[in-house]
Symmetry: C2
Subunit: 437 residues, 2 copies
């Protein structure tokens, strides 16, 4: 892509309400634009990052055998009355009356809707276990939407739902999802900690939040550093290994400030291993048994012919929120560096453009074509602007690799830089090999 | 995927309102499930087909240089008041009042929203031309939603918007989109005809509908058969070639019944070339100049410093509707055959399962693993059911290729069938080659 053609309106004047780094950066680099309070449009660059996150989330869901589907955004109020949550949910639920005066709502979550689908679809224990998920827009009518897409009203979420015959089976589904979440966040370049959590309005008796480290996070966290040394990729997607994983994680102290007790912390964690920092919740998983299946009469015939209410869990990842969370975790000293896996481009070519001398831009075009041929997603900064302004702009755009075509480049050798490291001069083939890794 | 694990609830009892083939088939094969009037959930199989359609639509948009973004589903009423359409739109617009009593709406289309983004983002002629698009859920509160996802309330649409300096430039953008649409429908395995159309509530003075042939379609069409011989892939994405394409298409008589005149038809089209049939609208493109940019004050500074209202067009493809439209076009004699490009699976393995003899299912499992290794998306029908029921089921599921593992298969040779053709007996490597083509 040529930067001159990319629709990336860079805003210099920040609105007063943009108080946190991710919100500021997303506006300044044209990732998003506010449509109305707590509602955003995703411009091409932000859209691209979000789609890359979505793809990784999807792949890890598929690996554990979850099946993707898609429920609508607008739901009937009837099913929420059946579960008893229609009145409980309060003003955060966006209630809608259609032209026939039917009570509808913009779904804030989908426990009721998936339970309704399941109860009319599955009659026999033979079809269990099942995990179904979708990645769909949700709406929560926050009283005070803020922090950009971090706490907005219309947001993009992956929510999965598991259906099992027994509590033991349901714990296996829960553990699979726990595993998938750890792998997802690792692939996104994030350090995540699963923490025992309260279940809140979803209900149930087993729940974990997944928090990623970011000094600007909303949640204070207290943890044993050694939790990061647990080798996630050594576990396997089968019962014993997943139980082992849950045990291994439970050995390390790790709580948010709600549950923090300094005496306990000092007793259980050696001074050297103590980590006090902040974090952002990016995932939340719940096991709630028959909380929905019972009032909504979602049962299957068991082996003995008796009706069994299915045991359910639900599992959320905030896909749109993750874009902001990654920025909060990775933005440092006024510089952004996207993790390779979700960067809007693999590499940017930055030519020094001199008046009356096209040689740098011509060299750059050649490299650009070559990289594209090799399947590398490359941005060429062909904007006429002085090189120091360009560097400032790319400090914010955060593409992790730069090829600088200027005084240090010769016919075959170019200045190549991984953001945050010293530049080096390499032949183009070496650069391609690094980018393809 | 094993059929026994796939969430594909097959409904035998059809609701009375399912009157057309695609609606019936989509319910019977578990592609969709109604959530409420005119609102559907997409179950795994239907979701997969829709995603494949979406991918092809996206690729062809990207090829002509359109940039993908994503606007929210919920819009502020303010911008619709600016354009003057807030009152015009009537009851089809789903109006929403949020907790602060602000007037919002669930977007039925996005001309206002994209114009608002553009006017605050682009100030100079240098950034034109631009084509932006998104693929997002829309809502139209139909008085009588019917025909399943063909005329539903919540639907998935690709809508693109072009921005140009002059009418000539705008026609080039229009022609690019015209070209992309023809290529999109061709890749989806459909015969499409572009037809001059009225502009309706979008407005403007140039418009084409893209209609695909289906005997059950809503629109009667009268056309010169030779329009299908125009070799779409001979045109190129540049001005002269695209003008030629528009000329070539305009040579052939082609109208819906609104504009049909039998005398004209007989005069302009030889008897042998006359085709009278029915069709389904799957795309619609519009050029409307400054209809939105003027009232919404969306202008750029021209070369001479004077303000120019940008010239706009909009371009829709009904992605969710296409799933049904493809069924209407391809369902024949109670049998479905998905076009290869959008089939939920590349091939299905159908073993004859005999009591006390596992050999067919074992053979099938081996083929299954081998095909998966080769990157082929294969379904194994491991359900215990007699073979004639299986065939009936697969007549409806419509996966275009079948490998039947039964009496005619030997150690290395299997019955291989393309739906609608005679079965043949092939070695597995030959089968793999055919599937990979």
């Amino acid at each position: 892509m040529l930067l001159s053609k990319l629709f990336i309106p860079i805003t210099k004047d920040l609105p007063a309400e943009a108080k946190i780094k991710s919100h500021q950066l997303m506006l300044r680099t044209g990732l998003i634009r506010q449509a109305s309070a707590g509602i955003y449009s995703w411009l091409p660059l932000g859209f691209k990052v979000m789609k890359k996150i979505e793809k990784i989330v999807r792949e890890e869901q598929n690996i554990i055998g979850a099946q993707e589907m898609l429920m609508p955004t607008v739901q009937s109020a009837d099913i929420w009355k059946e579960s008893g949550r229609y009145d409980d949910y309060g003003e955060e639920m966006l209630r809608i009356s259609d032209r026939q005066k039917r009570e509808m709502l913009y779904g804030p979550t989908n426990e009721e809707q998936i339970t309704e689908i399941f109860r009319t679809s599955v009659k026999s224990y033979k079809l269990l276990p099942q995990i179904l998920y979708h990645i769909q827009w949700k709406f929560r009518d926050e009283l005070r939407p803020r922090f950009g897409v971090m706490r907005c009203r219309e947001f993009y979420m992956k929510d999965a739902y598991s259906f099992d015959l027994s509590e033991d089976d349901a714990v296996l589904s829960y553990n699979k999802m726990f595993f998938a979440y750890l792998k997802t966040f690792e692939r996104l370049g994030l350090k995540s900690i699963p923490m025992k959590a309260d279940t809140g309005p979803i209900g149930g008796d087993l729940s974990h939040e997944f928090i990623i480290l970011a000094e600007t996070g909303e949640s204070k966290i207290y943890t044993d550093k050694r939790i990061f040394d647990i080798p996630i990729n050594n576990y396997k997607n089968e019962n014993n290994s997943l139980n082992q994983m849950r045990n291994d994680f439970s050995k390390f102290y790790s709580v948010t400030d709600e549950k923090f007790d300094p005496n306990d912390f000092n007793k259980k964690v050696k001074k050297n291993d103590q980590l006090q920092t902040k974090g952002i919740e990016v995932g939340h998983i719940f096991y709630f048994g028959d909380k929905y299946s019972k009032p909504m009469n979602c049962s299957v015939d068991g082996k003995d012919g008796k009706k069994i209410f299915v045991k359910m869990g639900s599992y959320g990842i905030g896909v749109s929120r993750l874009v902001a969370a990654i920025i909060e975790a990775k933005f440092n000293n006024d510089k952004m560096k996207w993790p390779k896996a979700v960067s809007p481009f693999d590499v940017v070519i930055i030519p020094a453009i001199n008046k009356n001398d096209n040689s740098n831009i011509e060299k750059s075009s050649k490299i650009y074509s070559l990289l594209k041929e090799k399947g590398i997603d490359v941005l060429l900064d062909d904007v006429e602007e002085n090189i120091s302004n360009k560097f400032k702009k790319h400090d914010l755009l955060g593409i992790p690799y730069q090829i600088v075509v200027g005084s240090k480049s010769t016919k075959d050798q170019f200045e190549f830089k991984e953001v945050g490291k010293d530049p080096q001069v390499f032949e183009i083939n070496k650069i391609i090999n690094i980018l393809k890794k």
